[in-house]
Amino acid sequence: MLVIENLSVSYRTKKGRVPVIDGLSLQMEQGEVLAVLGPSGCGKSTLINVLAGMLPIDSGSADFVTENGRQPLNPKTHKIGVIPQNCGLLPWKTVRDNCLLPLKLRREPITEEREREISDIYEALDVSQLLQRYPAQLSGGQVQRAALARAFVFHPDLLLMDEPFSALDAITRQDARELFLRIWNRNRPTTVLVTHSIEEALYLGNTVVVMGTSHGEIQYRMKNPYFGNSNPESVDYLAAKRTLHEKLKPDDERRGWIEQTAE
């Protein structure tokens, strides 16, 4: 279980500290997929970065609770897998080396059993033919699959995904989402999925949250009954979509253009 309590994070800039997340609290069950929606610049990627151990916490805590007790989340003690927006494959390593790098970094021995499992994952993601290639020699979809393979080979306790499918075109994206679900179902790691797409959030998240424009507060949270359902046609689904759409608009009345993409 992931327990975030009163978390505050800020960036240091020349003009002092810029707080981005301020007093965020959040709980995730083991095996939950939390889909995070939010306007641009609200702090979604920042949240991912904090959980990945890239950004120091100002105050509050992010703890991981297992049978063995409660410990602060830390990449050295917990196994955290990340799929950033551009997939984050190291360009100078082959697909195989990329996939095995996290294990190598933690000096985990690759037993025969493990090896078989890894082959299985390669097979399932159809990357077995690509293991010798470098990322620059892959198509967008292949890169995506290699990144998924890397994440799942690692057996992460916590899987963080930052808009993983946004770079794909409509059809490839649909395939990638299905595949993710298929593989995810094997070990069901606790997952945070940041996305821009309401459809994606409703398809891949068993909980959907919407972050507000400022301080990274969570504005809205819903249990999602449509998890894993790619094309539900119930009226409720459309209603849920519309609600999320409403929640995503900033609080104040919008006039013509919102400059959400501005700094």
């Binding site: 970065n49 990945a52 151990g53 890239m54 990449p75 050295k76 196994k79 955290i80 897998g81 990340v82 950033p84 927006q85 551009n86 984050g88 190291l90 360009p91 100078w92 390593k93 082959t94 790098l101 996290p102 970094l105 933690r106 290639r133 470098y134 990322p135 620059a136 020699q137 890397r150 690692f154 963080l160």
Partner: protein, 257 residues
């Protein structure tokens, strides 16, 4: 297939070499034919005399020069790369070192020859030191800049997997800056070759710089031009070597064809 690509690339370089060589010689011949001055001998005369050069230990001269350039470059890389990485990652180190480098960069290092001789003697010590002083700044600046240009997202995956500082440098920083580092080595090589003229003017009887300077002081223009031709070919070979090395080490940066 890999071997074939490498061979192909080598052949391609050879073609470029031949083409450039031919063109330059045509220009040279025209200059000779038009000017008719003692300082521009005919390229034909030069190549007729080329045989004698191989007899006269030109390879030893080349070897000596390569040794000096190699040592200077290696030292510059050994010092410059870590310093550049340090400056890129530590704001404090950068604050102290940046002004120093910005200010020392334009100091004409060749004027420091007496100091270099004092500290490292008249032999290879001071020669390597001068090459080092000139090249190291370029290496530092280019290492620092290319570390800063690394896409932050590549750290994300590695850090989140629990990588230590050393692991990050080994798996991310060094491979990421390698292509730009090789480019800067290529530029530095050009510089180092031209400094040969300066540092091989004393304390040695070997080296291509010495060879040319010696011929020059003997007003043996044939020998001097032979030396220039040889040094150009060696320079070109070094360029090509780095190109091939970069093709080999940075295979990942070129998509399959």
């Amino acid at each position: 297939m890999k071997g074939g690509a490498g061979l192909n690339r080598l052949l391609n370089k050879c073609l470029i070499f031949l083409q450039g060589f031919l063109l330059l010689n045509i220009i040279w011949y025209l200059a000779f034919a038009i000017m008719r001055t003692t300082v521009i001998p005919s390229p034909i005369t030069i190549y007729q005399n080329f045989g004698t050069v191989f007899a006269s230990q030109i390879f030893i001269h080349i070897l000596f020069s390569l040794k000096r350039i190699g040592a200077g470059l290696a030292l510059s890389l050994a010092v410059g790369v870590p310093v550049g990485i340090l400056m890129a990652y530590s704001e404090n180190a950068n604050k102290i070192l940046y002004p120093l480098i910005y200010f020392s960069y334009p100091i004409p290092k060749t004027a420091l020859l007496p100091v270099a001789m004092m500290l490292w003697g008249m032999r290879d010590g001071s020669k390597v030191a001068i090459i080092f002083l000139i090249v190291v700044f370029q290496v530092i600046v280019s290492a620092r800049d290319s570390v800063r240009n690394i896409d932050p997202s590549v750290y994300l995956v590695t850090v989140s997997a629990g990588a230590s500082r050393a692991q990050i440098i080994r798996h991310i920083t060094l491979p990421a800056i390698l292509p730009e580092l090789l480019t800067s080595v290529r530029v530095s090589l050009g510089t180092a070759v031209s400094i040969l003229f300066f540092v091989e003017g004393y304390g040695t009887k070997y080296g291509m710089g010495y060879y040319i300077l010696d011929a020059w002081s003997r007003i043996d223009y044939i020998d001097m031009y032979i030396g220039i031709v040889v040094i150009s070919i060696v320079g070109f070979a070094l360029f090509v070597a780095i190109d091939l090395l970069s093709g080999l080490l940075c295979r990942w940066s070129t998509p399959l064809k």
